[in-house]
């Protein structure tokens, strides 16, 4: 059964920077109209170029940032305002895991104390009961009991990320946003952490949004993938097909740029032109200046994300009415 857990409707985030390139105040549209549905128990991947708004979207899904426009619905209800009482009680069910475990941990606290902190904060357990729960969480993420008294700098990168995951699990969340959770890890340790996340998702019916620029990891762990370009979703589909049959020209370039062991550079689609800059968004389709398939219409009309030949894409050239293209 696919039940909707979380839904984003027309999400927009805009940041004002005090000084632009020519000394004027400018505003940056980091996220520019995103509709997204996350089903219970699935892992949804978000990929796309640096600066395309992935982290900003993730923060808005958790209600850590109030959107400039649009709304996030949690089980059909709008998310309460950040830091309100209603938001706090919901927070225990939603967690964020991000890239740098050392920055997320307190250097002066033992890892057992840090994993147990949410029990205290959310009033879930204390004393011997809390200690038993911490031991259980540590076992679940593959940390040894003798490591309980260690400090973060005494652990390896992979072990630290396990501590962060254990702490995120302490409040029995139902939804976790992972923002580049394995980017700082070696391939060997990365595989350990990815397997752990997969196990947790299977065992406890967790729902996850997994943000990463490592497309191979995304393909492995995610059920569905959304591809972002300059604040918008340009393609969305099951991870099985999105990497084997990318349709949007940006997704095609992205997939072709994945280095494969044992092959050279020849098969790549190298993108021409300026990397995207949200402070100077091109007219029409934001990707058109770098797109090999673009024509005049692409500079004028903003394509919407819609079903074209069985795939959600935002591209005028892929539109059902112009089906002979691509």
């Amino acid at each position: 059964m696919t039940a909707l857990l979380l839904e984003a409707r027309g999400l927009v985030q805009q940041y004002d920077t005090s000084r632009g390139l020519f000394g004027r105040a400018t505003s940056v549209r980091a996220v520019d109209g995103v509709d997204l549905q996350v089903n219970r128990g699935e892992i949804l991947g978000i990929v796309g170029e640096s600066g395309s708004g992935k982290s900003t979207l993730g923060r808005m899904l958790l209600g850590l940032e109030r959107p400039h426009d649009g709304q996030v619905l949690w089980q059909g209800q709008p998310l309460p305002a950040p830091y309100s009482a209603a938001w706090r009680s919901l927070r225990a069910q939603m967690q964020l895991i991000f890239q740098d475990p050392l920055a997320a941990l307190d250097r002066r606290m033992t890892i057992a104390d840090q994993i147990g902190e949410p029990f205290i904060i959310h009033g879930l357990a204390k004393g011997a009961e809390a200690m038993a729960k911490v031991a259980g969480l540590m076992a679940r993420v593959g940390l040894r009991p003798d490591q309980a008294g260690r400090y973060p700098h005494e652990l390896s990168g992979g072990q630290r990320q396990r501590v962060v995951i254990a702490r995120a699990l302490a409040s029995s969340p139902r939804f976790i946003v992972c923002d580049e959770p394995v980017s700082a890890l070696d391939v060997s340790i990365q595989a350990q952490v990815v397997n752990l996340l997969r196990d947790l998702q299977e065992q406890s019916d967790l729902t996850m949004v997994f943000i990463s620029h490592d497309l191979k990891v995304v393909r492995n762990i995610c059920d569905r993938v959304a591809v972002m370009y300059l604040g918008r979703i340009v393609e969305e589909g099951p991870s099985d097909v999105i990497f084997s049959d990318p349709r949007h020209p940006y997704t095609q370039a992205l997939v072709s740029s994945i280095p494969k062991a044992g092959t050279g550079l020849s098969h790549r689609v190298i993108l021409q032109g300026e990397p995207p800059n949200p402070a100077a968004r091109p007219t029409g389709c934001a990707f058109h200046p770098r797109c090999g398939a673009a024509d005049r219409a692409c500079a004028l009309e903003v394509p919407v994300l819609e079903l074209n030949r069985g795939r959600l894409t935002a591209c005028l050239k892929l539109r059902a009415t112009g089906a002979q293209a691509a």
């Binding site: 391939v187 997969r198 740029s257 062991a261």
Partner: protein, 329 residues
């Protein structure tokens, strides 16, 4: 004669040995990849070779560039050899860009120092280099300070600076880790193109095995301060022999094929202060026996070319990918 010849390079910090004798030869125009888990000594190898480690580091062995010995040479002599011929892109961008100087000025200084370009000529060349590495609106952003660029852009500015001197050897330490896939592809392409045009040699330090195989002729795999396997990229990637190399390959998810569980190497790298006896990889190795736990295997020339330090190599008949020639059973 090799352009760079490293023999028995050792490094110790505060009495803890972290490099245990590195031997490496790099020819003119050659591209060598250096891979291995965090802490295995990839960066330290080149920082030691170029005399860039802090004073407390004890460095031994020999490093020759075009026959000229660098270990034990005077500071000015090392700087002369290094400055003229070798550029290094450091792992941490913030360490080599000066935060109080405009990036354009930093690139132009390098152009003046190495190529004698001044004024408008230096400025035009700096803009061309920034364009080349994919900085948007290079002409208008040349006067910005490093903090006004994103992390990935700073990394590209450093690449531009390193290329400004037209070096004979570029040492690129994780040059593309902060970059996303499409820009990474663009940078790797650029480096390959410059090598083809100028005959520049390159050392690419990276934990991205795909990137290494895409641009390097040869690759060395390091573990706990030693080179455990080295071969042509084609041979190494089609039939890795060291269980550690094989483990690194197996841990990478596939971009096609099934989406099953990943195969990690279990355990973690040893602490250099408490290295296990014998082969340092033995505690994590599926094929280790008592000999591996007591004696350390020496690197030996393999039957199929390359170097290998292992008592129980992975069977040659089990290639990762089908090699074009086919592998004899």
């Amino acid at each position: 004669m090799s352009f760079i010849s490293i023999q028995g390079l050792t490094v110790a910090f505060d009495g803890t040995q972290v490099l245990h004798g590195i031997d490496l030869e790099i020819g003119r125009g050659e591209a060598l990849g250096l891979v291995g888990e965090s802490g295995c000594g990839k960066s330290v190898t080149w920082l030691a070779a170029l005399g860039l480690l802090p004073g407390k580091a004890r460095v031994g062995g020999s490093v020759k560039i075009d026959g000229e010995e660098l270990i034990g040479a005077s500071r000015t002599q090392v700087e002369r050899v290094r400055g003229k011929r070798i550029a290094m892109i450091f792992q941490d961008p913030s360490s080599s860009l000066n935060p109080v100087h405009r990036v354009g000025r930093q690139i132009m200084e390098s152009l003046t120092l190495h190529r004698g370009l001044k004024g408008q000529a230096a400025k035009a060349e700096a803009i061309r280099l920034m364009d080349l590495v994919g900085i948007p609106s290079a002409a208008t952003r040349i006067d910005l300070y490093p903090h006004e660029f994103s992390g990935g852009q700073c990394q590209r500015v450093m690449i531009a600076m390193a290329l400004a001197g037209e070096p004979d050897l570029l040492i690129a330490d994780e040059p593309t880790t902060a970059l996303d896939a499409t820009i990474q592809a663009q940078i790797l392409d650029l480096l390959s193109q410059i090598r083809a045009e100028t005959g520049m040699a390159m050392v690419l330090i990276s934990h991205d095995l795909g990137a290494v195989s895409a641009v390097c002729d040869r690759a060395a795999v390091m573990y706990a301060g030693r080179i455990v396997e080295m071969n042509d990229t084609a041979a190494l990637f089609s039939a890795p022999r060291h269980p550690y190399t094989r483990g690194l390959f197996d841990a990478i998810p596939e971009i096609d094929g099934d989406r099953g569980r990943l195969k990690p190497i279990h355990g973690t790298v040893p602490d250099p202060r408490a290295l296990p006896q014998g082969c340092a990889f033995a505690p994590r190795c599926g094929s280790a026996d008592t000999r591996c736990h007591t004696r350390s295997p020496e690197p030996q020339a393999g039957r199929e070319g390359g170097l290998l330090a292992c008592f129980h190599p992975v069977a040659w008949a089990v290639p990762l990918m089908t090699s074009p020639q086919g592998i004899p059973a």
